[in-house]
Symmetry: none
Subunit: 206 residues, 4 copies
Amino acid sequence: MINICREGVVKIKKELIRKAAIDVIAENGFFNAAVDRIAARAGVAVGTVYNYFEKKEDILDYIFQVEYEKRVSFLEDLKKRDTGPVEKIREIMNMHFSEMKKNPNLARVLLRERGFAEQDKMIHIKKFEELPAQIKDIIQEGVDKGFIRKCNPEILSVIIFGAVEALMTKFILENKNGEISDIFDVALEEMSNLLEKGLVQSPGES
Amino acid sequence: MINICREGVVKIKKELIRKAAIDVIAENGFFNAAVDRIAARAGVAVGTVYNYFEKKEDILDYIFQVEYEKRVSFLEDLKKRDTGPVEKIREIMNMHFSEMKKNPNLARVLLRERGFAEQDKMIHIKKFEELPAQIKDIIQEGVDKGFIRKCNPEILSVIIFGAVEALMTKFILENKNGEISDIFDVALEEMSNLLEKGLVQSPGES
Amino acid sequence: MINICREGVVKIKKELIRKAAIDVIAENGFFNAAVDRIAARAGVAVGTVYNYFEKKEDILDYIFQVEYEKRVSFLEDLKKRDTGPVEKIREIMNMHFSEMKKNPNLARVLLRERGFAEQDKMIHIKKFEELPAQIKDIIQEGVDKGFIRKCNPEILSVIIFGAVEALMTKFILENKNGEISDIFDVALEEMSNLLEKGLVQSPGES
Amino acid sequence: MINICREGVVKIKKELIRKAAIDVIAENGFFNAAVDRIAARAGVAVGTVYNYFEKKEDILDYIFQVEYEKRVSFLEDLKKRDTGPVEKIREIMNMHFSEMKKNPNLARVLLRERGFAEQDKMIHIKKFEELPAQIKDIIQEGVDKGFIRKCNPEILSVIIFGAVEALMTKFILENKNGEISDIFDVALEEMSNLLEKGLVQSPGES
DNA sequence: CATGAATGAGGATTCATTCAT
DNA sequence: CATGAATGAATCCTCATTCAT
């Protein structure tokens, strides 16, 4: 469908820039990603970038904003669903892994450039950092309903998110130029097992 | 005046610079940490920095090197000890958390600037990134001895390290200017529980 | 306001910088010619210089390029002309001397900064160094047509070029701040005589 | 013979530095020749260099001074000899060429770094530049005695010196890393011929 | 809105020179 | 005299940002 309205057109350019920025930043890191090069990659003039973003940092923040919103709406959908909490967490992991397979560069940026969360201007990076809190609710609900043992949901949400991101980081480092291994399936399984059984040998099991 | 020994003096200056760099990088991020400011903080001239480090990047790499060596010798000691694997992992977490309490700025740097591991020159950052592999051995040993259930030790080491680092990151973000909460004790407990029992309510438990 | 044409405008700025560079380099030598000062002399910002030249060295190379091309086209015209070889050489000298009177600073640069010909990047300085070879052809032709006695044209071209440049250097050193003496006419005459008669007293002449 | 006196010892160190400087400057040019590297090459500490030379430039000037004095005493000897002027000039050329074969690096420095003659501090470089004037006397004497035709001796001395240096420069550029070709013999012959016969075909010669 | 030349503050790095030992 | 660590001014170059067209 053709989107002719002004806003739609605007968004197309902004999208071009956002996507170019993801690639350039993934390749060079945010600081080494010159605005000129981002513009060039987007097939656009430098000045044009500054029609859509006030400062270079805003580009990065916008990248996080888009992903943040994607995740928020995903999590909202998820919460409504009727599955158990472990299954939900499994789906969250699944979502992250498959997003990463779709766009490894994006994952690279999301994982590497979070350092800016401390800066006050980067409101969406900061928000992104608060996403684990969303898992907290799922865990809390699981506890309330008796599916999950008593625990500190906030801490556990951090633990789970950290684990997921560490897995992604590992695979990024190992697959710099190649295809993402399907080791993700193994990772998924291991995480599920950890949550279900812990890591310790139960008495009476082989 | 007594000059302890040439090598000692050299190390003192290099130490001054290293410590100053940790603070300045923690506050501004590596890229915004001007060498001039690091030198000033160290009470030293710019040129002096370049007597000890060839390039700015080498300062960062050296920071990782020192910490890497600390951790390696810690892990070597740990392996020799006679405790069970879960207890060992607990000690690793404990070590990280207490290191962090001692020097939060250092933790900030270690957590935030790992992105450079992809650069070839940063050999110690790269090595640092491979530390989780050390946990792998502990897990493997646990499996072999029957203390830990069958699993993929490599993946699980990544999961555990990721969890620990996420916890540290969270507390850094929340305690930018303040004292580190003793929430670490809770975190420690929760991690231990996760490893021992998983997250799921066992049938027959309340 | 009428914008002659994009390319024209570009050339104007590049010309400004080139001319400023000639003066600053002539006064201080290439190494002591700070890019900032060249920019200031050109009435332009530092950054602008780097819009037209990738590196400082490229400015110097460009100065040689422009002069090289001037000389090549002059020599091509000259070859076509119907005059004898000695007359042609005389015209070459004349051209050099009058160019030098027009812009002594330029001559200063051309004579003093050739040392860079050894660097691989300075392709035009290297080419400039090969200009004497053009005289070689003229001499060779003279030999072929019987106007010039048997000799090694390559060596002689070097000798002639060297002589011309030494003369120019001498006058530059003697006329740092003043007008170029018209001693050039004498020099021209002496060179012509040398070529025609040698330096030795012929038997039977007074 | 062992030279134990203070001055002798001093000179040995100064000589070490001078020779090292010649090599380092020949390889990198004067500006890229760091005093550290000169000192290192001489097997001496930086500070030691400054015990013998006040400023870096003084090292270069000293190199020229030594060579200047060598040439002056050579020319004084030469003047006393009973040979004809052309033969004397031939010997001057011969001296330059063979000096150059002995130490190409030195020749490189002498030819490339004369640009500093304009600076007031470099008194010996300036003096070196005035050496051609010594040939002037030889020519003048030749004219007076009837061996050389009437001419402007000053101009001709410049011409001859320029020719010689151009030949040396050419061979340096062509023999950067290799042995100096024996083309010098040819050059010597051609110069002699030029001086004796000029370049023009005499009527009645083949 | 699009363009991209111009800007100049900022930062990494070098290196001549000093001076305490 | 010898040493070489320390100094910091000086310089090249980058790049975010502006603005006239």
